[in-house]
Symmetry: none
Subunit: 215 residues, 4 copies
DNA sequence: AATGAATGAGCATTCATTCAT
DNA sequence: TATGAATGAATGCTCATTCAT
């Protein structure tokens, strides 16, 4: 499963970064099929030939990009989760991280949306499954722990609630990064929804706390 | 909308249906760019020339398909919402409808995911916005009404909670129809997640009730 | 084994001819790999797209061309062979036909040489084998018949002699059509070798008669 | 020939051999255009850069390979021809040499076939002409000598008969080395044609003796 | 109105050749 | 001298769109 060739790894991090960024840009903005390898090469300031020295094919490049995106997201998540120990503090941290992360890496989030598309799902699932698995496991265990501590109601299935929680996270990510979901967010809560991060956290924390706790 | 669409509307409903279905199939399965007009024509049993008599361009056909999808979804929603009057009964009805509807119209749901993709969002938002607007309005008003009746906690913003609620709906739809989200669901709650509709409703209703009510 | 699609057969013979001729030209002159589909299309006065409507791929077009070449050669041979009944008269007729045929269809003969090349042999043998089989059978039976009539020495294997005979034919074809073999012929018998058809027939008939008869 | 070839000649014979063999392999198996310089370098265990230090271009390498092939063939021929003095003993020796040589140097023979192809003929003729010239001269002189000794019929043109003789040799070479001609041989004389060298020599000697002698 | 053959711009990919190390 | 990464022109093939019938 060499998503990318040895040759790419030998490149300077700066160059690797330029190529990955150019590719993310293109794939996130145009989708896999309309993405143009020549454009990616041009944006990255390398020749097409070089792209094909680093990656076997368009698909291979796409997979490398997805792999990179997943690694970046995973790193961000791990960073958060180890810094807190209370379930709701963790959740709040995640929400705030989503707000900063999705704005910093808009295209990465857009790419994630693109990836879930039917035509690409086979390709990407193998790569992404690992991360989703880790997340699922992690959330469920935190919820269980909180149940044992009596901070979360005992009559729920941690696995299902982990799923619902992550669903809210995913949708929040899209709402901050993808035009369609941005528009949808504005339609639901108003034009200035994207400017009031604090209110979003406050309301969503109320929603989640309510869902998890017997007050 | 334009001279071309008129010619399409004059067609027998049966033929219209064949063409729309073929197009939904193709767009949902391959994405906009990889969708092949010639394949659509063949699947629908008409000539390419005819497709171009009915629709100005690939984009126009895509928009017509999206429009049709939205109308179908809207009709389904309206049907539900008018049959009940309690907020939570309505929500439960919607959940069950999502379960049957997404299985019956798999490709419609897949198309909805495809639509939200960055490369297509400009195109589709104009069409979809109306429906999303109606939904947003409706949910918010139901929540407000329930707040006034004391069935929903008073310290929340109905608009935000409508948004979170719909997010859960959207994610549920994808989980039942799109391969990527199907896999993700299985990863979170187990391999047989798709076979236990009752449990899903039960858990999700607990989640939602908890979020909305002060017990 | 549809060497070419239905669509090609529906074309006017004139257009079919133009395309085949352009393709023979290109394949014979540049070899399979360097042959340029765009050039073929241009020479034939059709679009590249059309070429790909008629033939699935470059390989498919090549096979169609080879098929056509074989059919043309077969027709020429059959014509000759049925017009005479004496072995040596037949051979002489064939020699003279080679002289006119290879000059009229230079590229067909060049293509035949190209076809025998290692990189193409798998591709073409299936198509050509039938014709070579017919030829082998035919020549051997004529020789056998002549042996029975006492016109050919009895102590030879008709199959081997048919092979040697055909070898001389093949080399003669190449000598009249392919530059390399033309040069070689000139080197062996002199600069004006190609202008003295009568002498070639005379000498070659002596060679062959000698080989076959006990004087 | 030029500054580049000199660098090649300075190489150890072992390295020269590796490069030539790799190149012969590639050119014989894929044809000139599809032959890949990078593959040749890899097979030979040197870098592409080195190949381009030794040879000016792909064409130059090809020519060097052809030159080498010709030299190898010439050496083999000279060896035979000086060891016998009777025309027919020489011919028989040549036939047997073809049988061993073409099996030992399959790719060399395949390359010879490839060389005669139209697209390559200009390129190669200058190099090969010398050898073909020597051969032509040699055979004709032997035949003339044999005519003078009364062992060959006087009423034939030695040049033409030298040509026919060499044609039989060329075709025999191909029949033992090139897949297309192998198949053709089997078609003419049977599946086990390649296993019965003695019978081939016997029959072909009968054919040739008959052609040359007045019995 | 319906057809489907014809078009040609557009794109992924290859590979001979160069040149900095 | 040897290396092999970088280059970019060249080409097979696709497919939305047109239009004569």
């Amino acid at each position: 499963m060499n998503q990318f060739r040895e040759t790419f790894n030998k490149l300077s991090p700066e160059k690797q970064g330029r190529i990955l960024e150019a590719a993310i840009d293109e794939f996130a903005g145009h989708g896999y099929d309309s993405a143009n390898i020549n454009s990616i090469a041009q944006k990255a300031g390398v020749s097409v030939g070089s792209i094909y020295n680093y990656f076997e094919s368009k698909e291979d490049l796409y997979l490398a990009v997805v792999h990179h995106a997943v690694e970046t997201l995973k790193a961000a998540l791990e960073d958060i989760v180890t810094r807190e120990d209370d379930l709701f503090k963790r959740i709040e941290m995640i929400l705030r991280s989503i707000q900063t992360f999705t704005r910093r890496y808009v295209n990465l989030t857009r790419l994630y949306n693109e990836m879930t598309t039917e035509s690409r799902s086979d390709l990407t699932w193998t790569i992404v499954s690992k991360m989703e698995g880790v997340t699922a496991e992690l959330y469920a265990s935190y919820i269980k722990e909180a149940q044992e501590n009596g901070r979360v109601r005992p009559d729920i299935d941690p696995k299902y609630f982990a799923f619902f929680l992550d669903n809210l996270f995913v949708q929040l990510q899209f709402a901050y990064a993808c035009d369609y979901y941005k528009n949808r967010l504005k339609m639901f809560v108003g034009e200035d929804a994207l400017d009031n991060d604090e209110l979003m956290v406050e309301q969503l924390m109320k929603f989640i706390r309510g869902a998890f706790c017997l007050q």
